[in-house]
C-alpha cells in the first residue's frame, strides 16, 4: 500500500505537479497546515509574503500577465479571502489566469458562523471562472488539476479553491493526474471555415478595412500571426488598453491607442472604415462610447474565443469563433494581398493635429510645471522602449498607456476592466518576479500609491528591483479632471495632503528622490535606473493637469475633446 500523506502535503505536491515555483501569500489560522507543508518545499517554491491579501492577489495577476503562467495566491479564510476579492474580480474582467487558494474552517464547522468563516464560494461565484470548496482530502488532486486547466485555457480567468482545514489535515494516498478535458467546458471553439470565408469576403471587398487589437492576441500568443495578417491585407490597426504591446509601437500599421483617452485618429477612423475587424477584444464601453453612434457604417467582423462576447455590445455581421492563434492564419490565407495607401495615410492629418494640440503641450513642454507625459516619455526612452510598464489607475494610467512605447509583447500590466486603484505596487511586484530579467517601471498617482503602500515592505524584504514613479499632483487627478470638465469645478474631496514619500521609501530602506523641477528630471531618472535595486522616484507634476484627448463618457467616439 502507498504511504499516506496529509491533505496539506497533497496540496503542495499537486502545485508542484503543475510546475508552480512561485506563490504570493499570507498565512493565517485556517491555512496553517498548507503553510506548514510549504515549509518542507521552500527549496522548490518561492513564497512571497505580501503585506495584505489584496497585494497577494494583484501580485499573482502581475506575475501571470507578464509570464503567461498561472499566478498563485495563498491566503487564509474569512477576512483574508474577502481581502483577495478585489484581485479576483480584477482578474475576471481582465481575463488573467490566477488561482486563489483560501483556507476554510473544518468541514464539521461549515455553516455555523465559526471563527473566520465566510461563504467564499458564494461570494466569489459571480467573479470567478470557477469556484470550488474542497471538503475532503481525497478531492484535492482532482480539484487542483481542474483549477489549473480552467484558469489557463480558453479565455483565462480566476479560479478559487476554498480548502477546509480538516481536508488539509486528513491523511490520504496521493495520486495526481493532470486535467485536459471537462465535458461541460469547451475552452477553444473549433474554427468554422464558413465563418472564415464570410469574413475574408468582407475584407477582400473592403476599401477601408480597420483592425482593433485586444488582449486576446497576447493571451493566444498570436502576435506574429497578427502581423502577417495586417501586412498581407495592408490593414491599419489600433489597440485597446489591454491589447497594447501586442504590436510593437513602431510597426508601420500600428496606428495607436483606442478609447476614451486614446489617440484621435484611431477613434475617428472607427466611424469611417467600411469593415471593422475586432481581434480578441470585447467592445468595452471605454472603447466604444455611445453604441448607437459606433461604427454604424461598417460591416463588423469579430474574431473571438468566448461565444458570449459575440454581439454582446456591438451587433456583429461576421463572427469568427475560435482562438485568434488558429483563426488569424486561416483568415490570412483567404485574404488577397492588398494596398490601402490612401486610407492609411488618411490617419495622418489627425495624428498631426493631436501632436500639435495635445502632445506638444503634454510631452515637450519647456517651461512651467512638470507634466506626467514628459516623465513617461523620458523613462520609455531611457529604457529603450523595452521595459514592462505597470500602472495604477487614473491619469497616471492613461498617460502611461499613451506615451510609453513597446518593442515586445506582454509589456503592459494595468487594471483595465475593473480600474482598481492600488493595483500598481503589488502588480509591479508580481511583474518583476514573473520577468526578472526585464526592467519593470511602475507609474502611479499619489492616490493609488497610498492604497497599497504597505507593499513597499514586500519589495524591501524581497529586494525587488521595481522602479516606482509617483506622478504626484496632490489630487485624485482623474476625478478632479471630471469635476473640472463636467461638475462645474466643484472639487469635492479630491485634494490630498500627502506624506513625505521619500521619507516613507527611505523608512523601507528603498532609495528615493524627489524631482520638482524640469532640469532635475533627467538626473532623477538616471539615478533610478543606475542599478537593479528598488527605487521610488517622486515627481511633482502640475496640480491641474488634464488628460487629453478625451471622449466624454457616453459620447460618440468622434466627439473628442482636445483641450484647445
Amino acid at each position: 500500500m502507498k504511504e499516506k500523506i496529509s491533505g496539506a502535503h497533497a496540496f503542495m505536491q499537486s502545485l508542484l505537479e503543475e510546475g508552480v515555483d512561485t506563490i504570493f501569500g499570507y498565512p493565517g489560522g485556517a491555512i496553517m497546515p498548507v503553510f506548514d507543508a510549504l515549509f518542507d518545499y521552500h527549496d522548490k517554491v518561492n513564497h512571497i509574503l505580501t503585506r495584505h491579501e489584496q497585494g497577494a492577489a494583484h501580485a499573482a495577476q502581475g506575475y501571470a500577465r507578464v509570464s503567461g503562467k498561472t499566478g498563485i495566491c495563498l491566503v487564509t479564510s474569512g477576512p483574508a479571502a474577502t481581502n483577495a476579492i478585489t484581485g479576483i474580480a480584477d482578474a475576471l474582467l481582465d481575463s488573467t489566469p490566477i488561482i486563489v487558494i483560501s483556507g476554510q474552517v473544518g468541514t464539521t464547522l461549515l455553516g455555523t458562523d465559526a471563527f473566520q468563516e465566510i461563504d467564499v464560494v458564494g461570494i466569489t461565484s459571480p467573479i470567478t471562472k470557477w469556484s470550488y470548496q474542497i471538503r475532503y482530502a481525497k478531492d484535492i488532486a482532482w480539484a487542483v488539476a481542474r483549477a489549473f486547466y480552467i484558469a489557463n485555457t480558453g479565455r483565462p480567468g480566476p479560479v478559487v479553491l476554498d480548502i477546509t482545514k480538516s481536508a488539509q489535515n486528513e491523511m490520504i494516498e496521493f495520486n495526481y493526474e493532470k486535467c485536459n478535458f471537462i465535458r461541460s467546458y469547451t475552452p477553444i471553439p473549433d474554427v468554422n471555415s464558413n465563418q472564415i470565408q464570410v469574413a475574408a469576403d468582407l475584407i477582400n471587398e473592403a476599401k477601408k478595412p480597420y483592425a482593433l487589437i485586444g488582449q486576446g492576441v497576447i493571451l493566444g500568443g498570436a502576435e506574429k500571426e497578427l502581423i502577417n495578417f495586417l501586412e498581407k491585407g495592408d490593414i491599419p490597426a489600433a489597440s485597446t488598453l489591454l491589447g497594447l504591446s501586442a504590436l510593437p509601437s513602431d510597426f508601420r500599421l500600428n496606428k495607436g491607442f483606442l478609447g476614451m483617452h486614446g489617440n484621435v485618429a484611431p477613434n475617428i477612423k472607427t466611424n469611417e472604415c467600411d469593415v471593422l475587424i475586432a481581434i480578441g477584444m470585447r467592445f468595452d464601453d471605454r472603447v466604444t462610447g455611445d453604441l448607437t453612434q459606433y461604427a454604424r457604417q461598417a460591416k463588423i467582423i469579430h474574431l473571438e474565443i468566448d461565444p458570449s462576447e459575440i454581439s454582446k455590445n456591438v451587433t456583429v455581421d461576421a463572427p469568427v469563433l475560435g482562438s485568434v492563434k488558429d483563426s488569424l492564419p486561416l483568415l490570412t490565407e483567404k485574404i488577397k494581398p492588398a494596398t490601402h495607401t490612401e486610407w492609411i495615410e488618411s490617419f495622418d492629418e489627425h495624428d498631426k493635429r493631436e501632436h500639435e494640440v495635445v502632445i506638444k503641450k503634454e510631452v515637450f513642454r519647456t517651461e512651467g510645471e512638470l507634466t506626467m507625459g514628459e516623465v513617461v516619455h523620458k523613462i520609455t526612452e531611457a529604457t529603450n522602449n523595452k521595459a514592462v510598464v505597470v500602472t495604477d489607475v487614473g491619469q497616471n494610467q492613461m498617460i502611461a498607456a499613451r506615451y510609453f512605447k513597446y518593442s515586445q509583447t506582454r509589456s503592459v500590466v494595468t487594471s483595465g476592466g475593473l480600474g482598481t486603484m492600488g493595483f500598481g505596487i503589488p502588480a509591479a511586484i508580481g511583474a518583476k518576479i514573473g520577468a526578472p530579467e526585464r526592467d519593470v517601471i511602475l507609474f502611479s498617482g499619489d492616490g493609488g500609491f497610498q492604497m497599497t503602500i504597505q507593499e513597499l515592505g514586500t519589495i524591501m524584504q524581497e529586494n525587488l528591483g521595481v522602479k516606482m514613479v509617483i506622478l504626484d499632483n496632490r489630487f485624485l487627478g482623474m476625478v478632479r479632471q471630471w469635476q473640472e470638465l463636467f461638475f462645474d469645478e466643484r472639487y469635492s474631496f479630491t485634494h490630498m495632503k500627502n506624506p513625505d514619500f521619500v521619507a516613507i521609501a527611505n523608512a523601507y530602506n528603498i532609495e528615493s528622490r524627489l524631482v520638482s523641477k524640469r532640469e532635475d528630471l533627467d538626473a532623477g531618472i538616471a539615478d533610478m535606473l543606475k542599478d537593479d535595486k528598488p527605487y521610488v522616484l517622486v515627481v511633482e507634476v502640475e496640480q491641474k493637469g488634464l488628460v487629453y484627448p478625451m471622449v466624454p463618457a457616453g459620447a460618440s467616439v468622434t466627439n473628442i475633446l482636445l483641450g484647445d
Partner: protein
Amino acid sequence: METKLYTITVFSENTVGLLNQVTIIFTRRALNIETLSVSPSALEGIHKFTITLFTTQEMVEKVVKQIDKRIDILKAYYNTDEDLVFQELAMYKLATEKVLDFGSVEYFIRKYNVRVLEISNDCTVFLKAGHYAETQALFEELSNTIGVLQFIRSGRIAITRSKVERLSDMLEARRVAQLKYEKR
C-alpha cells in the same frame, strides 16, 4: 423591442452551487424569473433547469450564452411557446363543507378536467394540469364560488417539439472530442 415569454432550458452537472451560478446571471441584468423548475434529467448525474421569463429576444440570447459559459453547464438554450409542449401543475385546497354546500364536484371535473386528490372532513384538494391561463381560470372560478384556502402552482416543465436533441448532440460531440484528447 418586443417583450415576450421565453423558456430557457439548462442542463448541468449536478454540482453544489449551480443554481446560484445560474440565478446570478439573471440578477445582474435585473431580470425577473417567472418560474423555475429544477430536477434530475433522464441522464444520470445531469440536472435540468426550466426557467421562464418575460424579456426581449436580444436579452434572452445574451443570457443564454452567459449561462452556457459557466464551467459546469452542459447546454443552455431558449425557446418560445410555439416550439414547446409545456405544462404546469396547480393544487387547490378547499373547505370540504363549502364544497358540499356548492353541491357538485362533477361540474369542475367535467369543465376543468380536475383530479380530486383528497376529501376529508377538513379539506378537499383538487389538482389540475394545464397552461397558466387554464389553472388560473379554475382558481378564479373556485375563488368566486367555493373559496380557496391554499393554492400552489408549479414552475413550467417543457419538452421541445423539434427533431433535434441538443443535449444528446452536445454530449456526443464532447465524447468524440474526449477520444481525440486521449489519443493525443
